[in-house]
Amino acid sequence: MPEKTFEESLKRLEDIVRELEGGEMPLEESLKVFEEGMKLLSLCSERLEEAEKKVTLLTRKSDGGLEEKPFDIQENEVP
């Protein structure tokens, strides 16, 4: 099963908050849901931070294959 996307996690979090705010949940269940919420929160935070800032340029090698090289705006600017 694919792990939850950021969007799905965020949606589930909002559902959890709404359920908790509803005040109808028995204590035990709300503790369980709280735990799930905290887990999702940390997953989402990680997701925001994990992507490395990375800009690459796709180039074709001499043998015809493809490779990615770091891309620097300054170098590539046309005067």
């Binding site: 965020l10 705010e21 709280f34 690459t56 340029l57 796709l58």
Partner: protein
């Protein structure tokens, strides 16, 4: 000397053969009209399989056949249609086998609109009819892209603008640039290949197709049918941001999202990381606040229960007190109720009394008592008379007791040996013995004399 003069010279007119005449016509026309510009209206245009485009150019009073051979016809950007007003450039040619002259066209351009603009309109109409631009087939963009591919010129301003906006909003976004030519011959093929390459597996979840502003000609590769088809064939959603705000290209129409500029594309694609972070923080705050509140409510509830449970004796005492209190209240209430009821009863009773035969009851009672007394007396009387009788009888009986009789001097005589009580002298005879029972003791006697007359002295 001209031909007419030659005739009169006696040589006779020159007689051409058909081919000869035609050849001369051809040479005259082809040299005279080696390079002409013609303005006219297209009619009867047809392009058979050969790829050569045949038509007639006409105006109000004349028409001329024209042909554009395949090599030239192929690169026409627009499709010649009947009724189109055009300007053409070519040469006059003579087709000898049919004796026809025609224009052999090198160039054709719609009058007024421009070939490219016309071509754009034609393709737009054609692809729209095929449903390529329908809203329903457009794919959704990812909520938070993991990796973005940008198909563009690596040296243009577009990529610079795009990158700077992206990094401002979300510093650690992962981007791969796929370099292509963005104008001129072969650019559209490169764009198509780039789209295919990204789809083949670069781990990208959205593609941005972009280039800076330019003329219609410059932007032309983005108006090619092949590019539109490649965009729709892509499994990865594509954002098109080509030219300036006012430019709209076929790729813009075919893409899943059009952005007016590369910067706008970046903004549409990536919400600020700030806002994601803020949203998460807000949610975190709310989750914690809510769980805290639930716990607080829970613990308050618990405290209440605990307080009530804490002293069972107190509880019991309270209970007793309460019981007494309630009992008192009940009693008071009962009394009140009873009193109330009694009052009601007595007033009812009074009413009843007044109306009822109850007044007769005491007299009935008296009668009852009187009757009872009489009955007792009567019974007593009967009883005492019986008693009296009984004592009389007892008295009699007493007198009849043989022992009492014996005491008075009488005796009982019995024969011997039979023991039979003698009641008559005749029952015995002289000389027999008889036993005589006296009050005290017995004597045995011998009979001396028997007198059965019964005379008693």
């Amino acid at each position: 000397m001209d031909d007419d003069e030659k005739m009169f010279e006696g040589e006779g007119p020159r007689v051409y053969s058909v081919s000869g005449l035609t050849a001369e016509i051809r040479s005259v026309l082809e040299s005279r009209f080696r390079f002409v510009w013609v303005e006219g209206e297209i009619s009867n245009v047809r392009t058979p399989v050969s790829g050569h485009c045949y038509m007639a150019l006409k105006d109000e009073s004349a028409q001329i056949r024209a042909v554009m051979f395949r090599p030239r016809a192929r690169i026409l950007k627009f499709r010649p249609e009947d009724g189109m007003k055009v300007i053409a450039q070519g040469r006059v040619g003579v087709y000898e086998p049919r004796g026809e002259y025609q224009l052999v066209l090198d160039y054709l351009e719609p009058l007024g609109v421009g070939a490219l603009a016309l071509a754009f309109e034609q393709l737009k109409k054609k692809l729209a009819e095929r449903g390529l631009f329908r809203q329903e087939i457009k794919r959704a963009l990812p909520f938070l892209p993991g990796r973005i591919a940008v198909i563009t010129s690596p040296t243009g301003a577009a990529v610079r603008d795009f990158l700077s906006v992206i990094h401002r909003r979300f510093a650690n976004m992962n981007i791969v640039i796929v370099p292509v030519r963005v104008q001129g011959e072969g650019a559209s093929a490169e764009i198509v290949r780039a789209i295919e390459t990204v789809n083949a597996g670069l781990g990208v979840d959205v593609i941005v197709l972009t280039r800076g502003g330019g003329s219609l000609e410059d932007l032309w590769p983005f108006n090619e049918e092949a590019v539109a088809l490649a965009i729709r064939a892509s499994k990865i959603p594509i954002v098109s941001a080509v030219g300036h705000e006012i430019d709209i290209t076929i790729s813009d129409l075919a893409a899943d999202l059009r952005a007016p500029t590369p910067s706008a594309a970046a903004e549409l694609l990536v919400s600020e990381k700030e806002s994601f972070s803020r949203r998460l923080e807000d949610l975190r705050g709310r989750v914690i606040a809510n769980i805290r509140r639930s716990l607080l409510d829970g613990s308050r509830g618990l405290a209440h229960l605990r307080a009530r449970l804490r002293d069972p004796r107190k509880s019991i005492e309270n209970g007793w007190q309460r019981l007494d209190d309630l009992t008192g209240r009940i009693q008071r209430a009962e009394t009140a109720v009873i009193r109330n009821k009694a009052e009601r009863l007595s007033s009812a009773g009074n009413l009843l009394k007044r109306a009822s035969p109850a007044a007769r009851i005491p007299s009935l009672h008296k009668k009852l008592d009187y009757t009872r007394d009489r009955m007792i007396l009567a019974v007593n009387a009967v009883l005492s008379s019986r008693l009296h009788s009984v004592s009389l009888i007892r008295g009699k009986l007493g007198g009849l007791n043989p022992h009492a009789v014996l005491k008075r001097g009488y005796c009982i005589s019995r024969g011997i040996p039979d023991g039979r009580i003698l009641k008559s002298a005749a029952e015995t005879e002289t000389g027999k013995s008889i036993r005589v029972t006296l009050w005290k003791g017995e004597v045995v006697c011998r009979v001396e004399e028997v007198d059965s007359t019964g005379n008693r002295s």
